[in-house]
Amino acid sequence: MRIIYYIISLFSSQKSANLAKERLQIIVTQERRKRRYLPLLQQELLEVVRKYASIEEEDIQIHLEKQGNYEVLEMNIALPK
């Protein structure tokens, strides 16, 4: 009986390890993108502002805050005198 089940399982569905790998690749990529987007945004903003004023990296501060159903992006750019 066992052999029959084994043969059926070979043909029937995808191997569960492959399924695990696919699902992980999708979710991990998504979560990484989310994690990286704030520092990337900060970097890009820095480059844009630098076209017009000379500022340091510390002069841009970004905070993301959750408030109920939405997120608030707070940005502080200190320009030189």
Binding site: K15, A17, A20, Q25, V28, E31, R32, R35
Partner: protein
């Protein structure tokens, strides 16, 4: 130069404490003066796994609060020369771990030890961040299983953003992947993620693989780190990991073709 190494994973029950005990013991066996610190405040267990639970008098928090000095709290291992344990507190909560306090103790230990191993608690909260904050290198303990791999990825993200090296723009923490509870048979049947799968997803360098082994439970039952049982698969795997960490290339193990297949890639 002494090195601070955090043993971390995010997920609980994957083998952080087992690995901390074995890895620290292995480093000491090779002649390095090593201390292993239990950061799991409130749920201390490293002392049990290392068989010194009845010798705990003072703990990490006592030292941070100045209620005891380091020499009073450090437990000298009875089996292995050069090995010391700093137990966690069983009664306080994790907030007792302050950044300043941890920094001061680590600085003091650095004067005396070659390796400082930080056994992280599970989770991504304060205790886990304190354990990783000052690390130079990290061992990320991962089971070939979806929730463990995802949590490891999360921890890798924190290592590169929430630690001293990240915040002070110093060279990044060196990350090592350690896959534990690996079952070659199930991998071959397509029931378990392979070493290559896990490595591809997490994209950090592999330090080694510990096979699923009945000996791990026997070792913790008796309070003897599994690395001291050199006859076992798991013990040998930990010995190889320590050797590889120290920059050697241990010969491939022939037994059952297991290791030759694992590392012969």
């Amino acid at each position: 130069m002494s090195k601070i190494i955090v043993i971390t994973s995010g997920k609980g029950g994957v083998g952080k404490t087992t690995t901390s005990a074995a890895f620290a013991t292995g480093l000491a066996l090779r002649g390095n003066k090593t201390v292993v610190i239990d950061f799991d405040v409130g749920l201390r267990n490293l002392d049990l796994v290392m068989g010194c639970e009845r010798r705990v008098v003072y703990d990490f928090i006592n030292v941070i609060n100045g209620e005891a000095n380091l020499n009073q709290a450090l437990i000298k291992d009875k089996r292995v020369e050069n090995l010391f344990i700093l137990p966690a507190s069983q009664t306080r909560n994790k907030d007792a771990l302050t950044l300043k306090g941890v920094a001061r103790i680590l600085e003091e230990l650095k004067k005396d030890f070659d390796y400082i191993i930080c056994d992280s608690p599970a989770g991504i909260e304060h205790g886990a961040i304190m354990a990783m904050y000052f690390a130079d290198e990290a061992l990320i303990v991962t089971n070939p299983e979806v929730s463990s791999v995802r949590d490891s990825d999360r921890i890798i993200g924190m290592l590169s953003s929430k630690t001293r090296r990240a915040m002070q723009k110093m060279p990044a923490i060196k990350e090592h992947l350690l896959i534990t509870r690996y079952e070659e048979k199930r991998v071959n049947k397509g029931e378990m993620l392979s070493i290559k799968d896990v490595q591809e997803i997490l994209a950090i360098s592999l330090l080694g693989v510990i096979p699923e082994s009945l000996e791990i439970l026997k070792a913790s039952n008796s309070g003897i780190p599994v690395i001291l049982n050199k006859e076992t698969d798991a013990g040998q795997a930990y010995l190889d990991i320590v050797a590889r960490f120290l920059g050697e290339e241990p010969p491939q193990r022939k037994k059952k073709g297991f290791f030759s297949r694992l590392f012969g890639i």
